[in-house]
Symmetry: C2
Subunit: 284 residues, 2 copies
């Protein structure tokens, strides 16, 4: 499945950048490959599959769009005016490798490319597109999407739940909803499941920040940047319990659908790998 | 018509930002109001009207989306790593007023908002949406859209025609095409007209840069930034002739449609105002 996804991402970049400025195309490749765990698009495809997946090309387009938006947010979040991250996924961040102008533009291009990819994929089921575009846009938008999450860091006071929901929950919840929508199912019951998994992922990220290096991201960055962190607030053991509870709730919240059981198994498998290596024993 | 447009822009921002970070919402307002001439969305609405405008809400959504993308490009182009512009439309640029983090995020949010607005407007004619999303994305994308135009400035050598087409022609041509598409017409014959008007607008902008202040944008910036400029290349008189020829060609290229004559009149009216004030006599 991840081979299909990587090849869809490759096609999206090639199609969107062909004939354009060559260094920009290189920056786009650098931003998207090699990927992280591709958790969000895998989740989206798994939900589409569990729902009976009536339109596989649309589901793949939606999953690709979600990953492109995730990559866009990493490129912009790494900029000097935000995290000023020198590395990402074990190599130089985009602005360190290509300079700030191309990092800003690569992020912009990835956002645009996400919508182009979704639009192209809709040929299979054009009447499903409009609500999918709106759901995807909200997930990264200024009210409670990724942009809002990052922008809360520029406010004098930050409502913690809204911050986490925007910063992580929003794209996970778009992943489950778009998977259902691509398959022609009602997205409403899938929203909560995505939010719960996003919450679990956020706690896992906080644990990672607190205890270990992931081969690329510098650790204790939240502390350095004075950002809210569940581990700092709860301690490691309580944060781990919280993570496990969120995953269990996410599994329980999977709506009735043809592939419910195999989806539950996949979610548990993804969740297990969320726990940072040094903590896996105590989480078992 | 511009009242309708401004109110659609206001609604788009309110709907996209409500409940989100308050300073981000202020930055979005600052980026979009007060507007410039709103040439691109007015052109798009005029084309939809000339085509018989079967779906006025969709045409308005497309025009709004085009203006939001234009505003997004201004916010990002003004950033210190590009033009480092202190002012825009006679007031501080977004990054001067709100800081770089919110300027990057406001640009991102405006891009996303454009697609949300188009997606919402498609309720009226859902089957028209997919090609409109793709056309809009290409117009701002990494191959030959706005992002490509800005990114050419980071390349060691710049193909001049591709640069101008990407930087200005692309969004004008999206404006004419989306107007036609919203009305259910074939966009193909409208593409060239948009490109010609974009070319005229680019020459007008070069003239403005060379001869006058527009009450906001600092002049001779192209020269300072060593950017291609038609006036520097051709001289003022030849550039003016070139502008007038492009406008005449644009008018000639308007496809057969119910409102061809009134559209031609509007294009000439817009074009007349393109010529910088001190040069209008010699252009008459």
């Amino acid at each position: 499945m991840s081979g299909t996804l990587d090849s869809a991402l490759e096609t999206a970049i090639a199609s969107a950048a062909q004939g354009g400025p060559p260094r920009l195309a290189l920056a786009l490749e650098h931003a998207v490959f090699p990927g992280g765990a591709r958790v969000r698009p895998r989740l989206s495809l798994a939900v589409a599959h569990a729902c009976g997946n009536g339109a596989p090309a649309l589901a793949l387009g939606a999953a690709t769009a979600i990953e492109l938006l995730h990559c866009a947010s990493l490129v912009h979040d790494d900029l000097p005016c935000f995290d000023d991250a020198a590395t990402r996924r074990g190599k130089p961040s985009v602005h360190r490798a290509f300079g700030q102008p191309l990092a800003v533009l690569a992020g912009d291009a990835l956002i645009v490319m996400a919508f182009e990819t979704l639009g192209r994929a809709a040929a299979e089921a054009p009447s499903r597109l409009a609500p999918m575009v709106v759901t995807l846009a909200r997930a990264v938008g200024a009210a409670d999407g990724l942009v809002a999450g990052q922008a809360w860091e520029s406010e004098p006071s930050v409502p913690l739940d809204a911050y986490h929901q925007a910063k992580t929950g929003s794209l996970f919840s778009a992943a489950t909803q778009l998977g259902a929508m691509a398959a022609g199912s009602d997205p409403t019951p899938w929203r909560h499941m995505g939010e719960l998994l996003g919450g679990a992922y956020q706690v896992a990220d906080d644990l990672l920040d607190a205890v270990a290096a992931d081969g690329g991201k510098p650790t204790r960055r939240d502390e350095a940047l004075n950002r809210p962190n569940a581990v700092a607030r709860l301690g490691i053991e309580t944060a781990l319990d919280h993570l496990n509870r969120l995953v269990a709730q996410a599994v329980d919240s999977i709506p009735a659908c043809p592939g419910r059981e195999s989806l539950a198994a996949l979610v548990l498998q993804i969740a297990q790998r969320l726990v940072p290596e040094p903590l896996r024993k105590s989480a078992a």
